[in-house]
Structure formats: C-alpha cells, structure tokens
Amino acid sequence: MKRNTFYLLAGIIALAEVAIFWLSVEIERPILIQIAFVLGVLLIYGARRMVEDRVEDERTAMITQKAALRTLEVFWVVFFVVSLGSAVAAFSRPLGLRPPPPPDPNTTHTLILRITEPDVLPFDLFGRFAVGQLVLLCLMIFLYVGFRVYYARKYGEWDTDEEQD
C-alpha cells in the first residue's frame, strides 16, 4: 500500500467514525461508537503495517519512544488530577461516600427546593466530564506531536548536507 493510500484510508475511517458517532447519539447506543472506534483504530494499525515505503529504524523508534514517554510524564498527572476531581464530585453526592444532609425542618422552602431539584449528580456533569476528557486527549495528541517534532529536530530528521538534492 502506498503512503498516500494509507492517508486516504485514514481520512475515510475518520469520517466514518464521525458519522457513527452521530448515529450513536441519535439512537442512544454508546456501545456502537465504542466498538466502531476500536475497530477503526485496529484497521489503521493494520493498514500502517502494510505501507510499503515506510522505513523504521532504531533512531525513528527512539524518537517515538522519547516523545511518548515525555507525553505520558505530563498527562498521567493531568488525567489523575481530573479523575480525582471527578471522584470527589461524585462521592460528595448521595449514593456516594457521604450520606445526604438531613432536611432543615424550620424552613419549608428548602424542602420544596429539595423535592423539585434533588441533590443528585446531574446528568450533564457526565457530559461535561466526557467532553473535558476528549479535549484533554486532543491536547495530549498535540503535545505528543510537539515532542515528536522536538526530538526529530534534535536527532537530525530534517538536516541536510551536500548529498541532498
């Protein structure tokens, strides 16, 4: 497979993933996009192995490893912080670690408020958490690309000499 064919295939898969995501939201089946995403990634990994003019050696492998390690060093902390914050938000509600506070018998309006707006984890918090996680994943990819460019420059990826055309 030619390199351009691979990029074309990756683009088509990305578009298909967007369409399946939309469909998944429409029919309210999260498992659909989850399975489709895993299959899409496997397909891209498989296709990448079939690219003919892709030469990988110890230097390129080292660049990839260093970039991945540096990205992991930053983002395991970020993801841990976000997860800790989310866990605290979840456990500080009813059904979590802390029992619900008893209603104040002196104020009736508080009771009414509690009936109309129950103190449970609102659904949109999950949505915000999911979107926040997606944003973090995008940032992680940007950082990884940045580290790759940095190490590629450091180890002479774009150096030229008199033999270069």
């Binding site: 030469v55 050696d57 110890e58 230097r59 390129t60 450091k154 180890y155 002479g156 990826e157 150096d159």
Partner: protein, 69 residues
C-alpha cells in the same frame, strides 16, 4: 562521540543512501550519525564496522580518544 563514517564511505565510494540501504536504516540516520547528532546502538555500530571490514574503534572515536587522534 566522533566517527569516521564519511571517510570510510568515501573510500568505498558509497552514498549515504547506499550505506543506509545496505544497513537497513534510513538515510537520515546515517546523516545524523555522521553529524554527531545521534549515537548508534552497539548493534548498528557493529554492523557499520563489519560492513567496512574494520573494528568499531577504527570508525567510532570515544571521548579523549577522539581528541588524541
């Protein structure tokens, strides 16, 4: 670490691309090694030395050895 790959390439009338193909690496890797931006693994260093039919020390000059030569 300094090296004399360029000299040995010239002696064998080889381009960077040619040497890279013989060793199964990219041309950029040969260029990076020649410019001292990348130190090859022991495995690749042995491959380079054996390809030119010399010892590793003939091609790669480490630290004070490089200064003395």
């Amino acid at each position: 670490m300094k090296n004399r790959i360029k000299v040995y390439r010239a002696m064998h009338d080889l381009t960077q691309e040619g040497l890279a193909n013989e060793l199964g690496v990219t041309r950029q890797t040969i260029l990076a090694i020649e410019k001292g931006k990348y130190d090859p693994s022991l495995d690749l260093a042995f491959k380079i030395a054996r390809f030119f039919g010399v010892t590793i020390e003939d091609i790669f000059l480490y630290g004070d050895t490089a200064e003395r030569k």
